[in-house]
Symmetry: C2
Subunit: 429 residues, 2 copies
Amino acid sequence: MTNNHDVVRVGVLGCGNVGAALVQLIAAQSAAIATRTGLELRVTRVAVRNLARERDVHLADGVLTRDARSVVDDPDIDVVVEVIGGIEPARELILAALDNKKPVVTANKELLANIGTELYAAADASGVDLLFEAAVAGGIPLIRPLRESLRGEPIRRVMGIVNGTTNYILTKMTEDGASYADALAEAQSLGFAERDPTADVEGFDAGAKAAIIATIAFGSRVVAGDVYHEGISAITAADIAVAARLGYVIKLLAICERVDGEIAVRVHPAMVPLAHPLASVRDSYNAVFVEGGAVGSLMFYGRGAGGMPTASAVLGDVIDAALNQRKGAHGSMGTFARIPIRPIDETTAEYQVSFDVVDRPGVLHAVTGAFARHDVSIRAAEQEGLGDDARLVFITHEARESDLQATLRDLRDLDVVKRVGGLLRVIGS
Amino acid sequence: MTNNHDVVRVGVLGCGNVGAALVQLIAAQSAAIATRTGLELRVTRVAVRNLARERDVHLADGVLTRDARSVVDDPDIDVVVEVIGGIEPARELILAALDNKKPVVTANKELLANIGTELYAAADASGVDLLFEAAVAGGIPLIRPLRESLRGEPIRRVMGIVNGTTNYILTKMTEDGASYADALAEAQSLGFAERDPTADVEGFDAGAKAAIIATIAFGSRVVAGDVYHEGISAITAADIAVAARLGYVIKLLAICERVDGEIAVRVHPAMVPLAHPLASVRDSYNAVFVEGGAVGSLMFYGRGAGGMPTASAVLGDVIDAALNQRKGAHGSMGTFARIPIRPIDETTAEYQVSFDVVDRPGVLHAVTGAFARHDVSIRAAEQEGLGDDARLVFITHEARESDLQATLRDLRDLDVVKRVGGLLRVIGS
């Protein structure tokens, strides 16, 4: 490599899956990047917890250190990459780096979903970049289009498949007729799901990403605790089969929308019409569907996780931060409003409700009464099975969540209803 | 609106579909944009050819002018938007604006596909932005992700459905069994196709967009004349039916790829496997599928045309250009290599070939001989019809275009072959 290029010294905090992939990617791409941008990227410091651990990367002597703080304080480091994850020490290190006027690139969704706006303000105060394309939907360029391309666009709703593990499980259940337990076990054996899958399957991971997306899309502070979430562990093969028969596929969606001056943010399994672009997002792929006022519908699709795709997003941000730094510029995050969060009880949706009933005269009259009492109007009804196996599936017109929940309580109290099964929200087209 | 905001005076060249939508969109969104970015956008000059024409926009007295040059020379104009289209006077006006150190936003694909690198160099020389998100795939954020997010990514191939008219026609043929002529007539009556549809249906429009995409994705100069193109006017209902039976859907694709140190760029109808994300892009929607080395596969989906979606992309660029201008920065285009263009003859693909034959002993032996002589290996064969209606459909393994064309010439010379029908290239997964 010639010496005409501007050398950018990169300090990396953490050398797990993403950190190691980033080191490899920079080594492989640095010549091409230099030709294109005039920047020569060099990873000169890498902070790790355990120096002795075997790593699949080649680093010169003296690059590895156990002292992360020394990396962010090193005056020779131009750009800091944080891929440790979790709240501390990541928070403290990022704030210190920003305070030292170093741009920071992070993939830390947990941190951003909890104290993102605090970090954005710290970056703006120091006049440096804080970039985090990799924190949501891995390698998919989403944050930059939302922050920059769509800055003038009145965004109404963002719906995303932002968790690859659950999308893999739901795809196996849909295409192979697998049970939830079998699909989860397969995902675990392939490394797509953790041994303790709670964060993925109960919607915590998607909820954190929803908070970040809502904050950027609507320019208003939304934190993980604002996000209502349900997971997929209660979805049964029967739910999937009924959905398919009605022309839907079940997906775990993160939904962020503006409703009458408020913001509603939630994660739950949803019935997606087969013709909707999100319906064909299979396996562990992610996709985010954006509905704007002028631009219409957009979708961004790709790999939401994995070392290399995530490292690719980090690398794009590192180059951007370094170029901005050379120009003395940075991409301001601007100020964030505090638009009220609409509680889940006050949101509306179409619902699919299924419940097991006894097979005797008057049953339909009794159950429809529960819906009518709470102003929940029925759009379609289907009866499956006979006798002891009779099962009713209703799809409602748009109804209010609190009314639907009151209906479910009434149904549970009826002695003709043996069991109230899954509740699924239907996504309109 | 308060006076705390930085006023950005926008001069618009052209007030057709996109120009008028932009004026409306800025009027509707300026308060929200000011809150978010601190910029107050004002359209202060609009150049048109005909002052007397009725327009669906409200402009203050003195804003409209017939003198486009006066707009780019006006010292009060901060950002110039060019939505006239065509080569001249657009070229001259853009160069004059850049020379006056004014950032330019353009939606002009024809101009960029022919002299894009000249314009990019002029912008870099003046140290101002030349932004053109709207020139390819309308409202879909594609150019910015390619230029910025994927700057460090080794992109191998970009395949796009970048013409809404032809995608609408092919969708009608696929889903309703319509003939090409009927689907075209319907598209014309709905305003999706021009009265003279040549630019769309013969692949010229997609070819221009392919040249721009290839230039940005590979950092190398590619012009419209480098792009091999075939249109969809020869596609028959029978071709669509055979494709469907074999598990494919026919799409007009713009394909840009790196092959052994060269760049191959072409537009042609292609058989896309049903499970491929591009297969489910229906109606007049566009989508661009990007295959990278580290990031894996990405897809960007949305409205590729229309006044409002295109104006949304222009507006995002106007805000970006104005913010950069305030910081004294600009997004450098960098330098462009001149990587050799691989001629279509030297590219490889899997092909579907169909031809009508007489029904007599030895026919299969004769036709397979033509394939064997040119080293084209057959992966699947199907015979339709009997007697006078016998028709053979072959799908080949990957073969070289020149070998395939030589095979077709031999087939035409065989007296057992009555007619060689369509040639379709198959997209691998």
